[in-house]
């Protein structure tokens, strides 16, 4: 019975196995990036860049149809352009980064939706906006795995300066650490993971795999390392449970995964051991000194 419910779907159906592999790869890359987005107070930046990749994907779709390669390149280019543009605008003018991003991403989203709906059918629009984790081809799974691998390696290489740049950027500047480079590499990772996540979850949902597991993890660990572990765990849990729910009651899988991640984040806010509602309200024993 339990086997039928939890394990069999992944064994009996190849599309479920591929969906699981893809979702796990997304979890491994997006969740750690999300932790840094949260710590850097850039959650909304992630959201904005996620919408910003849409016109790139739409243009690629217009030129090459539902091609994995073209849409990936289109998304990466659009995401990097919008991240760089808003960074430039905030550096060169008085507009702050959040405001410039907000204006760019609204334009980008409108442009993307317009492009896709002019050229394609409703089905395609739904696919682009909400993804199709149940229809991942081998190429897409490999792409997701490659993106996750690259993300983990780059994060390991820039981990120390990224933490320092997130906490005390003035100090990193003063000691000659290349904070701007670290910031841009990190933004590139955000774009990469959003585009990879787009194939599984769609442009509107992929940012959810960054933000929701990270907010859940905040309540389960004290240090950054622990938070990264907890956020990957939450993302993996959301992937497995979301896919199963989608399989058994026949609902779209992308939103199902994100809803489970949202539920995990809610439960953590209420019950997690660090800084949650429960933890802050429950009296606890204390040491004598």
């Amino acid at each position: 019975m339990i086997f039928d419910w939890l394990i069999a779907p992944f064994l009996d159906y190849a599309f479920m196995a591929r969906a699981l592999a893809g979702a796990l790869a997304v979890s491994l890359g997006a969740a750690p990036v999300g932790v840094f987005l949260m710590l850097r107070r850039m959650s909304l930046t992630g959201e904005a860049i996620a919408h910003g990749v849409l016109p790139g994907i739409a243009v690629a779709y217009l030129l090459a149809g539902l091609s994995l390669f073209a849409m990936t390149i289109g998304g990466l280019v659009a995401g990097l352009v919008i991240a760089t543009l808003s960074a430039l605008v905030s550096r060169l003018t008085v507009l702050r980064e959040d405001a410039s991003l907000a204006s760019f991403h609204l334009v980008a989203l409108a442009m993307g939706v317009l492009l896709v709906s002019v050229a394609g059918s409703k089905v395609d629009l739904i696919h682009v906006l909400f993804g199709s984790v149940l229809a991942l081809g081998d190429g897409a799974v490999l792409l997701l795995a490659g993106s996750a691998t690259l993300t983990v390696v780059v994060l390991a290489l820039i981990y120390r300066p990224l933490v320092m740049e997130s906490y005390d950027p003035a100090f990193l500047r003063a000691v000659g650490g290349r904070g701007a480079l670290v910031h841009h590499l990190f933004l590139a990772l955000v774009v990469l993971n959003l585009v990879a996540g787009f194939h599984a979850l769609g442009t509107l949902m992929s940012v959810g795999m960054m933000i929701l597991p990270a907010t859940a993890a905040r309540f389960w660990a004290r240090g950054i390392g622990g938070m990264i572990g907890a956020s990957v765990a939450a993302a993996v849990l959301a992937s497995v449970v979301g896919l199963l729910v989608s399989f058994h009651i026949d609902v779209p899988s992308g939103p199902a995964i994100i809803l489970v991640a949202g539920a995990a984040s809610m439960v953590s806010m209420l019950l997690g051991p660090h800084g949650s509602l429960r933890a802050l309200r429950t009296p606890a024993w204390h040491r004598s000194n």
Binding site: L39, P161, A174, V175, G177, G223, I224
Partner: protein, 249 residues
């Protein structure tokens, strides 16, 4: 003694308005220099200019040590995110950046340096505490521990003792005195004039324009302090262009 920093007719500022106006002079190696002046006199701006965060509008700041890691800079305590999950140990260990960069291992030496720095500032046993749970005074002690780990020959402090309790201030002042004894060059932006008189042999009195620079006793006269106050109270949005002879030449 050779000059660690030389100001050559330096003007620093924002939006074409000078915050430090035509400053010239040298800071010799091993100096313990207080920078005093009214609010808005350009004290913090001067430190930003020295670390290179702000480019001079005109003039030059020459540094004997061009290497960034030879300067330890403590900005005003304000911008640190109190909710950021970092331990006191990791905060202090950042001081090792010059030695290990982004990929080097902290190693036993690095760990011992952090531990002994924590001990010296009186934060023994705090290494696993979250930096966000420290009091203001404790956090300032931790930031001084990071300066100790940096082990730099030039140390720049921006209002390091503002809003601290008496005991923390005394402990940290003792550290500054020790750095001075070790031959390091220390520049500190200061508000408490009594502390400056008691602890700093030399003073730069700044009110956008340099008012006086030299032996603390000679600089901190009533006449000079009064002059500093009157100079910096005027602010003219449409001030005419400064035509100093140095620039015209």
């Amino acid at each position: 003694m050779s000059a660690v920093i030389a100001f050559e007719d330096v003007t620093l500022g924002y939006d074409r308005h000078p915050a430090v106006h035509h400053l010239s002079g040298e800071v010799p190696a091993g100096a313990l220099l207080a920078i005093v002046g009214p609010n808005g006199a350009g004290k913090s701006t001067l430190l930003k200019g020295i670390v290179g965060e702000l480019k001079p509008l005109s003039g030059r700041i020459r540094r004997a040590d061009a290497r960034r890691r030879d300067t330890a800079y403590l900005p005003q305590q304000s911008e640190l995110d109190r909710s950021f999950p970092i331990s006191v140990f990791d905060l202090v260990a950042m001081g090792n950046w010059g030695a290990i960069g982004s990929l080097g291992s902290l190693g036993g030496t690095g760990r011992r340096r952090v531990a002994s720095a924590l001990e010296e500032v009186g934060l023994e046993g705090f290494d696993r505490r979250q930096a966000g749970t420290l009091s203001r005074g404790q956090l300032q002690r931790a930031l001084f521990a990071r300066l100790l780990v940096q082990d730099a020959p030039l140390i720049l402090l921006d209002e390091p003792f503002t809003a601290l309790d008496q005991r923390t201030e005394q402990d940290l002042l003792a550290l500054v005195a020790r750095w001075h004894g070790e031959g390091r060059t220390v520049l500190a932006v200061m508000h408490d004039l009594d502390t400056v008189r008691a602890r700093f042999p030399r003073t730069l009195l700044l009110a956008r324009d340099p008012v006086a620079w030299g032996e603390t006793g000679e600089v901190m006269t009533n006449a000079n302090l009064l002059r500093a106050r009157s100079i910096s109270e005027a602010w003219d949005e449409a001030a005419p262009r400064c035509e100093s002879p140095e620039i015209a030449a």
